[in-house]
Amino acid sequence: MATSSATMRKVSLRNLAAHKIRLALTVLSVVLGTAFVAGSFVFTDTLSHTFHGIFADVAKGVDVQATGKQTDGSGVPLADIEKIKTIAGVRAVDPQVESQIVLLGSNGKPVQGGGAPSMGQSYSPPGQLIGDPYKFISGTAPIQNGQIALNKGALKLAKLNVGDTTKVLVPSAGTVNVTISGVYDTKSDTGGYIGALFARDQALKLFTDGNHVGSVNVAGTGVSQDELKARISQALPDLTVKTGKQVTDETQQDVSTALKFVNYFLLAFGAIALLVGTFIIYNTFSMIIAQRLRELALLRAVGASRKQLSRSVLFEAVVVGLIGSIIGIAAGVGLAYGLRALLNSFNVGLPNGTLQLSPRTVIVAMLVGVVVTVFSAYTPARRAAKIPPVAAMREEFASAGTSLRRRTILGAIFALIGAAGLVGGAVSKAGGGAAGLVGLGAVALILGVLLGAPTLARPIVAALGAPLGRPFGSVGRLARTNAVRNPRRTAATAFALTLGLMLVTAIAVFGSSAKKSINGLVDNGVTADYILTGPDAIGVPVGAAATVAKVEGVKTAVALEPVRVKFNGSDQQGTGVDGSLADVLPFAMLSGTQDLTGHDILASKDKADQNGWKVGSTVVMTSPDGKALNTRVAGIYAHNQLLGDWMTSSQLYREVTPANHRYDMVVLIRAQSGTDLSTLRTRLEQATDSSLVVKVQDREQFKGTQASQIDNLLAILYGLLALAIVIAVLGIVNTLALSVVERRREIGMLRAVGMLRPQVRRTIYLESALIAVFGAIVGLALGLTFGALFVRTLRDQGLDQIAIPYGQSVSMLVLSAVVGVLAALWPAVRAARIRPLEAIADL
């Protein structure tokens, strides 16, 4: 037995070595899938390793850190700092304040930090500083008001130098003129991060309400961290107190959690890539088996058992899987490196560190690569074992194939179940349940289509081939018949493309529907002539609304403010309204009044129903600082996407929001009738000029901004899905290259009876284009259906309009035909090189 299996292994290995191109193509499909899996692990491992390094020192020297009870609260009252100082065992106290800022560069424009934060912090001089002292590279620390020190990266990004003057915008306090006193070095100097150090007095004034600080670092003497923490908590029960170790651990934890999401996100695309790759590996093994039929039958004839035969095929799969995953891991490291470089070229703010290749990454990628390959080769291996020995004598055995009937019936059943799920999801009440039903229906329908695809291939390709092939005459006819010669193979080849395009199309439906819905909301719901917006993290700085309200020609300027409170035991976000909302954003009341005064709130019907509120009900809210407020429901309005669940007065907003946390989400402006809008725009721009970051947009521009945000999100998804498409295209290359090998003699015969080389090539191009377009049509049909139905289940989430991206769909079809031809370039050249003699010789 040992020697016989060694013999079979030898046959397998020789066989792999003898067909190097075939091997390379199969390995490539494994490589692409595993590379993505390995790449996402390496990418996130590297990030978490470097981030952990950066944050390891976040609480260096800090024994205890005290903060306010809630993150959105005012922080630690100044009086408490003095109290802490008096607690036994406290050696030093270092109050910290910080806030989001906007730094102006040498060109007078805000410096774009990309994804990294832009922070202003208080500078603690060496005597008071607890933890790592700042290392100044040049210049001095900021000790006077109006001085700041910048980190090296920020200085470079802003194109500023020590001694230069510029401006810094603090959203809650306005713009300040500053001089750069020095440059410091920091570990967290990732691409795009801006850290401006202010003299402590000025920082307190700018970043706090004057009575609080953000946090207090405490160093102890002669006591353990835990003991010190206990003493401070006891003395000041209103504060959250953590030991230095806890702070470090929690920070690390936050980093890990954030990166886990990135990892899952990337792995999802790795899974898609592998799924698509599975089809290619399966197809390749099927074709290789078909081509080796005579050889395998010969092995059977000379006495190899079925088990030996299937084991030998599976052994080949293991070898292919291993080679593929090893190369895949190497490619994954490259992918991670490239991804980081790409993201950093957009100033996303990822730290540079050595790439981390953990044993886990290697093991997972290897396992996935080998398991997927063996899984894909399992069915072909079983088929190989079933070959009767007499098949060696027969010529046309390969093309026989078993009936598709059972497969088609099973596919039809799945498709029906899928359709039922989809229809059920579409007609049921919007929400998670409906989306789940649509999801299950989609999976069942995909399975149904997968099973039924070989049967679908014939009529669809015939229908496609008639118009596409006509101009090419007999070449077109040959291409058409070749494309469905082996419907299973055509289906499996096309299905890889189907999956990729299905996802792309579904996402495209989401995107276009979201854009259309937003446009609809703005067009139908907003009567404001201009809208003021600010950067995501900052919003519109406080004061801008008041300034524009005084501009000549402005009838109303309404600021919408973010209200964060607690009621019913959970965090709730509502909208504070400063101004006459009905002027700029009309909404319909169902009961009560529109007017918001004092502690009144207005609730949407849904929110009111959900909480059992009626006009006059009392709602007890808790502010971030822990203050309880009694509010009264003054009115209930019909559901309105733009307004959200509930609104309250600006007065209440100010009562619950610390001054240094205040900003406006948007400011809506209505012009006085008869005002020239373009003149008004100029005036508005002049009025908001000092707040630096505020943009004045009319409704069309506002819609455009929203649309471009959606487009940016889609672009990332498309970029990642492109990998699946690339794999699908490689699958087409693979199938065609192997078919050409299979059809050597036939092509030789065609050449003998007079087919010219360009005609041979054209046949292959057309065949490939037909397969690709078949896959694309099925993918588009599925993607449009799923996309539209998912959007429908989200109709109460603001996606109330379904938009089919027609232009994009058509261009995807055309593109898939082009891609098909490109995939055929190399196989076609190989086919055209076949010499006519090969049809008759070598028998």
Binding site: R477, M749, L750, G754, I840
Partner: protein, 276 residues
């Protein structure tokens, strides 16, 4: 059998005029001993490999194949009979010498022109892999003309189909046809485009004796009645007995020739050759 109309299909290329001319020439001289060669090899050598492993498959062969004549090339394995046919049919290049089809010199012809020559002026019947499995019988028959973008001469096509008894098989695919039927379709394809010359490479190699007889009968008839020129390579003396003339090869040289062969006389000659 109806005498087919020999007018051309209306194409203006000179090559498509050839069948008419050839057939006319064949009728004019009325028989097997025409002086105008349909194919000619002059001092043709074919050498494979180089140095110590060099094999001389054809060794200075000169031979003519007259119009309207049915020739069988015979010889033991490795005698070069297939190589000679491949060189004559434009499937392989001679290492030295001259090969002509009609008045066209094949040596030095580009791949494109060689392909067009095969397509427009030569018919083929191979041992196997004769037909495109995805095309029906009629599509296979008209394939060379379809590739050329020419319309077949419908009257001629009908007479070929009826003569070969393929009328009720036209919509079948090769997998639905017997071996003999497949080979008849291949013959129909070769005849349909009215080529100057038909080459057959072991056309009966994969057939039982009854089907062999049918196929050879078809080729014989095409020579006798339609003045077609046919050259086949075979190792089957019974197949060779359908020919007007048998050319014997051994070790890359022509060693003998026989007219009006019978199966027995061919078999005797072959035995002698293999004994040498």
């Amino acid at each position: 059998m109806n005498s087919p109309v020999t007018s051309t299909s209306g194409s203006t290329t000179t090559s498509s005029q050839q069948p008419a001319t050839a057939a006319a020439a064949g009728r004019a001289t009325a028989g097997a001993n025409s002086r105008i060669a349909a194919a000619r090899a002059v001092h043709v050598s074919k050498i494979y490999g180089s140095g110590g492993t060099q094999v001389r498959a054809l060794d200075d062969i000169s031979v003519d194949f007259a119009r309207g004549e049915f020739t069988a090339i015979m010889g033991p394995s490795g005698s070069g009979k297939s190589t000679l046919m491949h060189c004559l049919a434009g499937l392989d290049n001679a290492s030295a010498g001259s090969v002509t089809i009609g008045d066209t010199e094949l040596v030095g012809l580009s791949d494109k022109n060689m392909t067009k020559l095969r397509r427009d002026r030569i018919g083929f019947v191979f041992q196997s892999f004769n037909l495109v499995p995805t095309l029906t019988a009629i599509e296979n028959i008209t394939l060379p003309m379809d590739i050329a973008g020419r319309n077949p001469n419908q009257q001629w096509l009908d007479s070929v189909i009826d003569t070969l008894g393929l009328r009720d098989r036209l919509s079948h695919r090769p997998s639905e046809l017997s071996g003999g039927q497949q080979q008849r379709v291949a013959c129909a394809r070769a005849l349909a485009s009215q080529p100057e010359i038909i080459f057959g490479d072991e056309p009966t190699g994969n057939l039982d004796s009854r089907s062999s007889g049918e196929v050879m009968g078809i080729l014989r008839n095409s020579v006798t009645r339609l003045h077609q020129t046919v050259v086949i390579v075979t190792h089957d003396p019974r197949a060779a007995s359908y020919a007007d003339r048998v050319v014997f090869l051994a070790d890359g040289r022509i060693v003998d020739e026989m007219r009006a062969p019978t199966a027995d006389s061919v078999l005797d000659r072959m035995k002698n050759l293999e004994a040498v």
